[in-house]
Symmetry: D3
Subunit: 73 residues, 6 copies
């Protein structure tokens, strides 16, 4: 019964990464909830256009998220 | 920048399981997105009251979800 | 696969009315989508506390919604 | 005051079916809430792209939903 | 920590107006919450296609919203 | 037609601050959209329980948000 909605900025993930995300998040959720709920576990990914998502008032772009994602820790 | 909203029926998970869920789903998301986004990865859990969530028109209860979760595969 | 989320102000509907709402909205959705999707049609009802929902800047209360609902047309 | 958000996979419904959905779901909601709330009943339909919605970890496509919708009962 | 999600009908606001919206809503939220939360204040704008948003059962179009927005008070 | 949903951690804002938030965010939205849309501008505030909202995998509590909100800049 868990419903998982994931929002990110469009253009950051490839279609393959989105499929991978759906699979891995489903597995993570079921490792806590119990495998019996797999048939009723929904995970959806929704893209927000570049520039439509502000942090502290400043819109964030696809390029900025990509740079953050791959920054050296 | 990923935002993850998880909805489930209230009373199914303990507070400890919810903390575990937040941690595991965050890790799953970042394994795809890249660890650089950890500080801007939000995961929130929202409970829907027992009986407020219908599947095919029939409300589902906390007890039914618990039974499904632990059913033998 | 349709997911329906209904938000209303808490205290307006009884538990019986919420069950009725889930049933009737599910039927309405499936009359358009096709009955084959019944097992994957989810309808959830979420209450927003009285005073937490503003229209034009003014918070609306449970009592005001009840009055509107039963007003003569 | 009811707010209804309906999500489905894009490409399943035609624009005419979406208008029909908005009308029928509004009527279903008001049959429970009371007709007095019609002017403040909002129904919105949001499409999720094919492949962005996973069930049990497997992405669902527009074609699969269409097949299910029209399957013999 | 506040998360703000704004939905409107697509085609009503220009990209510049959306940036202005993000900035002004962030400032409004922080004037109540306290400036210390600025780095964790997210505001996102999501467009709903013209005709996908019904009021009282009737779909609203981009043109109608524009007319209302600029109507004399 | 704008719909604004604000989520925060419960216990941070008083009822008076929530009313103030609804008013100020409505005004901010209409300063961009145009005053003609005031009657169809909805702002709702939804609380997420303390500990149900994780940042980077760590649940955030009401106390931590309060401390951040009032921290010296």
């Amino acid at each position: 019964m868990p419903l998982v909605q994931i929002k990110g900025i469009s253009g950051v993930l490839t279609p393959e990464q989105k499929q991978d995300m759906i699979k891995k998040v489903t597995d993570a959720v079921l490792s806590v909830e119990g495998e019996g709920l797999r048939p009723v576990t929904w995970v959806m990914i929704e893209d927000v256009p570049s520039g439509h998502w502000g942090v502290g008032g400043d819109p964030v772009t696809t390029g900025q998220v990509r740079d953050m994602a791959t920054a050296k820790q």
